[in-house]
Amino acid sequence: MSVRQFSLRVNGVEHRVTAPPMARLLDVLRHDLGLTGTKEGCGEGECGSCSVMLNGELINSCLMPLAQADGATIVTIEGVCGHGRLNRVQRAFLECGGAQCGICTPGMILATLHLLDRHPCPTQDQIQEGLNGNLCRCTGYMRIFAAAEKAANSDSGAIK
């Protein structure tokens, strides 16, 4: 028995997935569900470009076996917009230059959302810690810190 059926609620939509229980959630999202916004940078849980929200918590989807995600509520980068408008974090990344090559950006945006959920007015230290599992090679992080701060200071709710 190498495949089973699992259910996932991804970005508000129920999915039934038939796959091996040890399929990585990252691969299920990208290949079975066609949600390629979540990226693979290292496959070892270090770079965070595979970050998604699972039951409200930031996790590395390259380290999550499908069977342990059964029944979970998942949010990927494709799900962070509100009603077709940019989320305040996405807007801030655009304004502050938080994305250069963009490959770390989906994970970085999710990590920023996770941070602001827990610390609506984060200090610089909290921002730096909140993003410490998301590696960026292009920006040197400074524009990303600026984006996090800007998002924290902007109105909550979708903006465009």
């Binding site: 495949v3 229980p21 040890m22 270090e46 930031l58 996790i59 390259c62 076996p65 810690e129």
Partner: protein
């Protein structure tokens, strides 16, 4: 991704009793997986020998229970749970700190203390705090539960006292360190997501300028996490001065056996371990004056 997913099975019984029964009935066949932050890395690298896994992400194992005497941390508690628990922050701040030093934010959300201890890396961040706080482990199997002092858990490199069908049910910490002096530090290659080159946690007290109580745990200086019993003996009753420090360094380097590995060198570890001891004593002396 170097493993073939269909070659693996992972079952989720969902109940602690069922898991324990399975581990007993099909002894040696099933490998427990908690947060997966260790196992899935091996899996991704094509190095996971185990083919059959059983999930131990269970409600029964992820509670933190506090009473007047102790805090019992379920083996399945995540590092995020541990670092944010107000009781742990108050009574066992070194452990909260060690949890905050473990990996990065996302891995703290999944990594569990039980998984970390069972994995038995000598570089793990929490064990020094468990030594400092006189932790006991509650181990569970179909035969029931038993308690052992944490000092008896590690038997050798990646060898623990767990029976093949046993799980870590809880880490139990006695609430008697509220007034203790404390010191903890992790030395890694960077400020986050770093496996420690050396890490230390210590509690103690001074009386009339002399060390009255001391418990020191250290990681990455031996094949297992180490309680520095001989170094503690040297410090007991001594005043924190240059002579004490010199003697403590000497005994420390005889009881620790750091190695050269991909992260660091034996000589660096030895030197820094001694420096950390010295810093600890300075902190204790400063705090108690």
């Amino acid at each position: 991704m170097r493993s073939y997913p269909a070659d693996y099975d992972l079952i989720v019984p969902g109940q602690l009793d069922s898991v324990l029964q399975l581990l007993h009935d099909e002894a040696g066949q099933w490998t427990p997986i908690a947060g997966g932050t260790e196992i899935m890395v091996l899996y991704g690298a094509g190095k996971l020998a185990a083919r059959k896994l059983v999930s131990i992400s269970l409600p029964d194992l992820s509670q933190i229970v506090e009473d007047g005497d102790s805090i019992s941390i379920g083996g399945g508690c995540s590092f995020t749970q541990i670092r944010h628990h107000s009781g742990i922050q108050k009574h066992f701040p070194l452990l909260a700190q060690c949890a905050a030093w473990t990996g990065g934010i996302a891995n703290q959300n999944r990594g569990t203390i039980g998984g970390n201890l069972a994995n038995a890396s000598p570089a793990a961040d929490s064990p020094p705090a468990l030594f400092a706080y006189a932790a006991e482990l509650e181990l569970i199997s179909v035969r029931g539960t038993r308690r052992i002092p944490y000092e008896q858990f590690h038997l050798g490199y990646k060898k623990t006292a767990l029976a093949p069908d046993e799980l870590i049910r809880a880490v139990v910490l006695p609430k008697r360190f509220e007034k203790a002096l404390r010191y903890g530090r992790k030395v890694g290659s960077r400020n986050a997501q770093a496996i420690s080159k050396i890490c230390v946690a210590a509690t103690g007290s001074l009386r009339q300028g002399r060390v009255e109580e001391i418990r020191i745990g250290m990681g990455s200086v031996a094949p297992t996490p180490l309680r520095l019993l001989r170094t503690e003996k040297v410090l007991l009753g001594a005043a924190p001065n240059a002579a004490t420090i010199a003697e403590a360094r000497r005994v420390l380097s005889s009881e620790s056996t750091p190695i050269d590995d991909i992260r660091s060198t034996a000589s660096y570890r030895t030197l820094v371990a001694g420096n950390l001891l010295e810093e600890m004593l300075r902190v204790f002396a400063g705090a108690s004056s």
